[in-house]
Amino acid sequence: MTAILHYALLKGMRDKSTMIFLFTPITFVVASLLGVTLASGHPTFPFYYSLEWSPAQNASHVAFMATLCAVCFASLSSFWMFRSEVATNAMGSFILAKRPILIALAMNVYSSVIAVISWGIGVTAGIILTGAMPPDLSSLTVAVFIVSVAASALGSLTVMISAQPQMLIGAYCGSCLFLPFLVMQSNRPKVMLIAAATAVIGTTVATFLLERRCAT
């Protein structure tokens, strides 16, 4: 699996997609905090979404936004990373060398790791800019981890269904509809089980479709 991760990293660094996926949450967080703070007419530090909220509440809101952004982009990065290989059947050379399940798993691991790191960057920026720690950080960390894996599985499943670039819109819309629910309900074990099941089913079906695609 490390070989596929190595390939994804090399490719992602060269075409800059890894950077885009890594720094999108921080861009959202910083831009929105800065925008609201400046637009409110009281440009003071720490930054805020609402002057009526405590810094901890603002930080919590920032963390939530970073989470949504990171998990939604996890599905996009999973879709994007091997899109051209899937579209051109270049994946055939990969599955001759490694089992398809390992390839699907590597896609998920890569995107999940990117999502968790990007979330970490976004939340750190939020903590610095709001001057407070979000109170629910530990539970949010667990949620980000599980939901990112589910989001990555959905992204890889989408690309296996069709590698057309317009499917990216579908993957993003699907993520925006489904993933916030998982994040918001992440304190309920049943919801986290749904997320885990989504990851397992998504990866399994993606593996099956990967083999089918390479056969055509």
């Binding site: 070989a3 190595h6 060269r14």
Partner: protein
């Protein structure tokens, strides 16, 4: 079984209502270059994908190096190199990086990776491309890079789907040289191509497929024999008309003022007798040339005959 690298028996593959392969049986001997010929849509790519374990046949069996493609697909995949007809290379990576990834994918020992990459670069004459990114490559360069990728794990069998497609004459010569070199090194090569003249030059064996059915599998001489092909001989004299001696098996197919084309199997002794006879009659023979029909002509004849048989039935 052991002398064969690939043995396919009664392969059947359907895509919906279309039958791509029906009762396709053939064998590929170890250490040979075997050409796989057929018209577009005859089932070549489907067969190559079944042999490469990428596609399952609906019925029939296929063994590669003694392993069943259905049961031992992962064992087979480690021992074959497959170059599809269409493939894309990652434009952001250099060739060295690309091959490096595949040495990792094939779990080649860390200490051997660098040496393996250098050996493959040399073998495929891609050293000058090694540190170039894989974009804006010519078709010939792409094919060599594809071959390098297929060879990186030192497979026993190379399966190539139309490797000569789109190559210029120089690149085709290089490809043929490389394939000959690989055969010398003990590799078995099974390749499809529409460039039959090239196949004729390098292939030891031939598999001919028509509408999903293998109509011939064996050596090229056997294919000619099956097609009942005979060699034409052209005799050219310096200035005078040539006549045909009696007792030869065959017929005159073309006759010019100072030359004659005779179709039939002539032994060396018969040729010598004919020439001696002409010389005795004062005719100076300046050239005796065998005009063997090309593989392309034989293939066209095979397809034509099959079509005639189908029409008759």
């Amino acid at each position: 079984m052991t002398e064969h690298a690939i043995v396919a028996e009664s392969l059947l593959k359907r895509y919906g209502r279309v039958t791509a392969l029906r009762d396709a049986s053939f064998a590929v001997k170890k250490g040979t270059i075997t050409g796989f010929i057929g018209r577009n849509g005859a089932g070549k790519t489907t067969t190559l994908k079944i042999v490469s374990t990428l596609l399952d046949a609906d019925d029939g069996t296929c063994h590669v190096l003694g392993d069943d493609v259905r049961k031992d697909e992962y064992a087979i995949r480690a021992r074959i190199g497959f170059l599809p007809d269409l493939f894309e290379l990652p434009p952001a990576l250099t060739l060295r990086e690309y091959l490096g990834i595949f040495t990792e994918l094939y779990s080649i020992a860390r200490g051997d990776r660098k040496r393996r990459i250098e050996t493959t670069l040399q073998l495929t004459r891609t050293e000058e491309l090694a540190d170039r990114r894989l974009h804006a490559l010519s078709r010939g360069e792409e094919q060599r890079v594809g071959l390098a990728r297929a060879l990186i794990h030192n497979p026993e069998i190379l399966i190539l789907d139309e490797p000569a497609a789109g190559l210029d004459p120089h690149a085709r010569v290089e490809l043929k040289e490389l394939l000959r070199l690989l055969r010398e090194r003990g590799k078995t090569i099974f390749l499809s191509s529409h460039v039959l003249a090239d196949l004729e030059e390098i292939c030891d064996e031939l598999v001919v497929i028509k509408k999903g059915t293998v109509i011939f599998s064996g050596d090229i001489a056997g294919f000619r024999k099956q097609m009942r092909s005979t060699t034409r001989w052209r005799l050219t004299a310096v200035s005078r008309a040539i006549s045909l001696p009696s007792g030869l098996r065959g017929e005159v197919v073309e006759s010019g003022p100072t030359s004659i084309e005779f179709e039939g199997e002539l032994t060396a002794a018969e040729r010598a007798r004919w020439i001696a006879d002409l010389v005795a009659r004062g005719i100076d023979v300046c050239e005796v040339t065998p005009l063997r029909s090309t593989l392309e002509q034989e293939f066209a004849k095979a397809v034509e005959e099959e079509e005639e048989m189908e029409a008759a039935s």
